[in-house]
Symmetry: C3
Subunit: 328 residues, 3 copies
């Protein structure tokens, strides 16, 4: 079977739906790519390989979740172009990974994964409509809200058991300057920070994600590395715990902010680069704040800091004459 290749996807968008399965697979891979704001199925494929390297369970979950949310969008008659670009898939994929990370994977949990992925599609349409008022994208807000809602709900239901493996579980409650940050902390933290975008604490996975970004956009790849490093350095400078720095906990939100603000939304230049660096530094602090405020409810920060910081810096940008937003 010959796979037809387009520049950014497995299948050329030639308007017909003869190869509907391949088309669907292409949507799903682009959906996985969109987690890092890359509507590119090759990047998505490499991200998926990276996840499978760390854990086949999460890899399967990501495929199932992205598929379920994409299929829901198709059934509801959502705009075909947006579905093709993977915009109705990435939140479902992330929801699936988060639920499988947090809950014991029995039959009811797999049912919840599919239902939650479908919910993320409604959430995507709702938040896009809400924020569209200010020309803001939904980003991963549908994933964050859907996941937090399910995590909270399980506390009321006796048939769902949690794994006690929340992403922030490694962060101690009262922090003293703890452990010594060495070169190995920095290298591990750099790649773990990128891997944690999909909640994978694995250096190899991080390297595969970097490769995926390189295929899709060199600028995004550099931004991701710079973002992860900035988050790590801010956390180190402020005296965060070494294990959290090594695990990439302070990096993944900065990675996403760096990709989004450093090239995706603004015309490149000195001012927009400085703006993005400022945002990346702030993200490390916002991550600390969001995770501290959600911890009493037993909830992880997920990518909420990325969403909040990116929305804020996009909202503010029209007031600043030195910045120019890309026309899309």
């Amino acid at each position: 079977m010959a796979i037809r290749l387009s520049t950014t996807g497995l299948v050329a968008d030639n308007g017909d739906f003869t190869h509907s399965l391949l088309n669907f697979l292409d949507c799903v891979l682009r959906g996985v790519g969109q987690v890092m704001l890359q509507g590119n199925s090759y990047a998505g494929l490499l991200f998926l390989v990276g996840i499978f390297c760390n854990s086949p369970l999460f890899g399967l979950g990501a495929l199932l979740g992205t598929g379920a949310s994409t299929a829901t969008a198709m059934m509801l008659g959502t705009d075909r172009g947006q579905v093709r670009a993977g915009l109705f898939g990435f939140n479902g994929g992330l929801v699936a990974i988060a639920l499988l990370y947090f809950l014991e994977p029995d039959a009811l949990t797999w049912g919840c994964v599919i239902f939650a992925a479908a919910c993320s599609t409604i959430m995507m349409a709702g938040i896009a409509s809400l924020m569209g008022n200010w020309k803001l994208p939904a980003l991963t807000a549908p994933f964050v809200l859907t996941s937090l809602c399910f995590f909270l709900a399980t506390a009321r239901f006796g048939r769902i058991e949690s794994t006690d493996l929340l992403p922030t579980a490694g962060l101690p409650k009262a922090v003293t300057v703890e452990g010594v940050v060495t070169a190995s902390t920095v290298v591990d933290g750099l790649f773990n920070g990128i891997a944690q975008v999909f909640f994978q604490g694995n250096v190899i996975t991080g390297i595969l994600f970097v490769a995926g970004l390189l295929i899709s956009s060199r600028a995004a790849c550099i931004a991701a590395l710079a973002g992860s490093l900035t988050g790590l350095l801010v956390a180190w400078g402020m005296g965060a715990a070494e294990p959290a720095i090594r695990a990439g906990a302070f990096g993944y939100n900065s990675v996403l902010v760096a990709i989004a603000l450093g090239g995706q939304f603004f015309v490149p230049g000195r001012a927009s680069a400085a703006y993005a660096v400022f945002a990346t530094i702030a993200t490390a602090l916002v991550f600390a704040a969001v995770s501290a405020s959600l911890e009493p409810l037993g909830l992880p920060a997920l990518t909420l800091p990325f969403v909040l910081v990116t929305w804020l810096f996009l909202l503010a940008s029209p007031a600043f004459a030195c910045l120019q937003r890309k026309t899309t």
Copy 2:
């Protein structure tokens, strides 16, 4: 005295204000009806009878609260049509019931009830203006926010004493599959779920509410029963505690969502019915999530899940070609 009858109200809206007391009473009864989205004073009357059956205190409170918020709206010069439809009454009525439920009913509390009902009118105008941007109705958000604000405030004030009777008090903190769900659980839970829309845990009250809905709209009546049943079944399937299921705790938000999305806002059809069922199921989970997140502050979920789910599904709907919103 002959009461003139219009099709949906005690008094025909003939533009004059000669029978101003009767007119006011009509506004109040429609206000009570609007709690279930029925601008119908006969439905409101039956709802009121149902509340009095369970507790004369709450019945009086509902009348006083609906009256106080309606009167405030009139004094501030609010649009007469909206006041006539009861849209500035229902939040005040609910606020009054909630405050009387939660606080010891002494003179200061009755003063708070009137002040809170008046606040709910400001809140109604504010939230309607806020959400009007997306053509979303305020629903019971003014009631929820006003009540939660008063519950929180009482913690600071020595002269107000709480009754320790929060609606969610029956839900245990750590849930194990508890108690056996029998046919009597299902029947009690079905009608309690409808009665809990006004925070009345009473099967007879629930049956009177069903009768009220039947007078106003057969579709709303069916939706309410289906919504209560769905919420109950989801809670049962997920392993919620039997006493909470019997009390209708997982039902009342689903009842309201079912009435709103199953006929009120969308052109009826297969797609909109499926959309409403999906929303009703999600509501049971959102109720669990909202109540778990508010519990640490000692706050009940009230009808916040209904507001959030209905807003989300209305916001999302324009993205889905298979749904058509009613033009109003």
Copy 3:
């Protein structure tokens, strides 16, 4: 050096930037004035004197913070008129005071103060754009959100130490009617309530603030006194603790609401005065509610109640025929 005098500022806005340092100082003083909604550098100067009277540390902080956020706005190319009016300064000044109040003032903290003040400028532009949709001003929301974010973040970082001196620390958790309210409580509370707008618990400071307001606007001065008194009386009537009443804890948000709604935004008249009084009473309750809800996270209410109440009453106002908003 002769200081040229304009009616409301140290330097006439003659369009050139020859006296740029004086111009900058003028922006900073107006920024300090804007904390009480007065774009008047003489008022700002008196407010600053009042702060220095209570604490030179906070005085320096206010100058530095206002300067840093104003400078950030200039560097980013923000609209010159808004910067001149002090609109990009007041949040930075408040952020600086709040951080110095809460954190031990070592080198890292001073670095955080400057970074946080710069963040408040982005936040100002973002919130102004967000709320501009409803023609609502940002008020002190940028200050509140930036400060709360930094307070939360410090919990994760070992190098920052808190002073355990949060503004609400004086409020006991479970309140009984405590202490006897005397004439001295009322007098102290009245002026402390005005001083607390800048988080200064000092009667002399409060009197200097009143003098500053008198220079700028007699109406604002009367509103501030009336607001402080109303907040105090509501708290007393509801049975709040005497030390909190004396400290002005229930006053400062009511002061700001009274200035904003009693003259700033509405055409003066009987209806708008009643509306403002209603809002001022509600503010004391909202302060109690907000501080109760933030306390579990170890966070103070700051001026969040002022922001929420003012937004709500402005949002609601178009629905009420008896109120007329000023055209600006």
